[in-house]
């Protein structure tokens, strides 16, 4: 960039010129930052995450770093510090889950993936956004998660939900979502990592650029983990021509051959 070669044009000893150059460079950098910010789509001033998103990471095969195995590619993991801090008894359960994952993984039955797994499962999801809420439609199971961004709070004594109860607020351009009131029927990945109904997730959604979201989450569950831990993945916008979700009601596959009726001759 010509800006960075500019100092060669000035005598080193000219302090005033250096100061004005520094000022100019600062202004350029500020302008650069703000133009990157302005590049992201917005709705009523807030970042607009509307679009179809998917991670390219191998997080769903295992949140922790892992070598390849017959049913998974290798992966560097997405857990900060690499290791999920299980309580001893929970670690035993995780190992059992891993051993029987081929049949016990709820995703294998086509069940709702839960939060945060739906975000990094290797299928696209679509975000629809209004000022008062963010709706996430997952291709897998076509389940719907609503993140309320209208200043409302968690209900006092609700049911346990597959996807939890999500209340979001904006911290600058970051959407911070507090999620709780879960059931204990979902896993965190295909490697048997799990949680109880005491799971509490705090998500942070932020644009890196208009086609890339940085998704971070802190997971807390005093019945399963010895302390909260953090995960992080990058989500990419699907930009293929005419790309759309294709509903994936996997759990109907066991019986869908019985419908509709067919002529007896067929």
């Amino acid at each position: 960039m010509s800006v960075f070669s500019a100092p060669h044009l000035y005598p080193i000893g000219n302090f005033r010129q250096l100061v004005s150059l520094a000022t100019f460079l600062s202004l350029v950098m500020i302008a650069g930052t703000s133009s990157a910010k302005d590049d992201i789509p917005r709705i009523k001033g807030k970042p607009d995450f509307s679009g179809i998103w998917q991670t390219t990471s191998s997080a769903d095969y295992g949140l922790e770093p892992h070598s390849n195995r017959a049913d998974a590619p290798p992966g560097p993991g997405i857990v900060e510090g690499h290791v999920i801090p299980y309580l001893p008894k929970a670690l035993e359960q995780k190992k059992k889950n891993f051993e029987k994952r081929a049949s016990a993984d709820p995703a294998k039955k086509g069940w709702t993936l839960g939060t945060p797994r739906g975000i990094y499962y290797p299928e696209p999801f679509q975000i629809f956004q209004r000022p008062q809420d963010v709706t996430i439609l997952f291709q897998f199971g076509h389940s719907v998660r609503t993140i309320y961004t209208n200043g409302t709070e968690h209900p006092d004594d609700p049911n346990d939900w597959w996807l939890g109860d999500s209340r979001g607020r904006w911290e600058g351009d970051t959407l911070v979502v507090d999620v709780k009131h879960f059931n204990d029927k979902t896993w965190l990945d295909a490697a048997g990592n799990f949680h109880s109904d005491a799971l509490h997730v705090v998500e942070r959604w932020k644009f890196l650029d208009k086609n890339t979201i940085e998704y971070k989450a802190t997971l807390e569950d005093p019945q399963v983990f010895s302390r909260p831990f953090d995960i992080s993945v990058i989500l990419h916008r699907h930009r293929e021509k005419n790309f759309q979700l294709i509903e994936d009601y996997r759990f109907t596959l066991d019986y869908d051959q019985y419908y509709p009726p067919k002529p007896d001759s067929q």
């Binding site: 200043g151 029927k185 419908y259």
Partner: protein, 322 residues
């Protein structure tokens, strides 16, 4: 009470089912005390006749992208999926025949032909009758109504299976049903390749004044129309018109179903719907919302999560405890 939890064991389902029935009964009782008929079958049957709504200009509120704003909570007004062509007539073979005469009940959802019957080819009609004969005793897989296994309600059944929410976005109308989710694409992209078949099909729509016009392709034909077993096949095509009244309080759903492999001619399905607002009391079937907790005084309605994955049982597992 209709929040369905796939993890529940059948015993819990029986309890849930019984509680649902109790809830509905108590609603029916209240309504009886307040207002005598037109109700015929209780809480789900809100009315037995309904106004025609003409397609025309939309004069109500519009969204920034120009769509008529019809967001909010809706449900059909006449009946659930017990019976497709005699919506308030109960399930055939239930042993509980309706206490009303046919002309006191809502008309068939088949509005054309005038007979109110689906113009089935003989083989297809035979299959429907077979389904009805075995509905209460589904000893073969194909006689289990797929909704009872958590399958999506599909088209048109989703429009008379509980209430639902409409959310709108630039280029999309989203129907958040009790069982399944449907996205109408307004951006004129082509249908999915023909070999992809889906429970809710693939929907392309546009607005003509007060009317949302939708073309449905890629339909898998697996979601039956109700407990009476009517159906369309994967060769079928559905053209829908959602005609909203000028005051935004009602709409009529009119769909033309075509399937030369199942029917002798195209036919029209009409389903009346009404809007529910914070002025209405949640009633456990048509209008299932919670009130959001917040510091303000304004009533903010919230849908609850609708997820069903493992129901997987025939009709009657709850009824057995009655």
């Amino acid at each position: 009470m209709t929040q369905r939890k796939p993890s529940l064991k059948p015993a819990a389902y029986i309890l849930l089912g019984s509680l649902s029935l109790l809830a509905l009964n108590s609603i029916a009782e209240e309504k009886k005390a307040a207002t005598p008929p037109p109700q015929t079958n209780g809480g789900i049957d809100q009315e037995s006749s309904f106004p025609k709504i003409a397609s025309g200009k939309w004069s109500g509120p519009v969204l920034p992208d120009g769509q008529p704003d019809v967001q909010g909570f809706w449900s059909n007004t006449i009946a659930n999926h017990n019976n497709f062509t005699d919506p308030q007539g109960g399930i055939p073979g239930s042993g509980r025949p309706p206490k009303t005469t046919r002309d006191q009940r809502a008309p068939s959802r088949v509005s054309d032909p005038a007979s109110g019957e689906v113009p089935f080819q003989p083989w297809a009609l035979a299959k429907v009758k077979e389904f009805q004969a075995h509905f209460h005793d589904p000893v073969e897989q194909q006689w289990v109504e797929p909704l009872a296994r958590c399958a999506p309600g599909g088209i048109p059944k989703s429009f008379y299976w509980h209430g639902y929410e409409i959310r709108q976005y630039p280029n999309y109308v989203l129907f958040y049903f009790n069982s399944g989710t449907r996205l109408i694409h307004l951006d004129k992209k082509p249908h999915l390749p023909d070999n992809i078949k889906l429970w809710n099909g693939d929907s392309r729509g546009h607005w003509e004044g007060n009317t949302l016009v939708v073309d449905v392709g890629n339909h898998n034909g697996k979601a039956l129309f109700g407990r009476t077993g009517e159906f369309i096949s994967e060769n079928g095509h559905i053209q829908e018109r959602f005609i909203f009244s000028p005051d935004g309080k009602r709409y009529n759903y009119e769909a033309v179903l075509t399937d030369p492999t199942v029917y002798t001619r195209p036919f029209t399905v009409t389903i009346p719907a009404r809007r529910w607002t914070e002025k209405d009391q949640p009633n456990g079937w048509h209008f299932e919302v919670g009130l959001a907790k917040h510091a303000g005084k304004q009533a903010i309605l919230e849908s609850e999560e609708r997820i069903c994955a493992e129901n997987n049982a025939a009709f009657g597992m709850g009824a057995a405890t009655e």
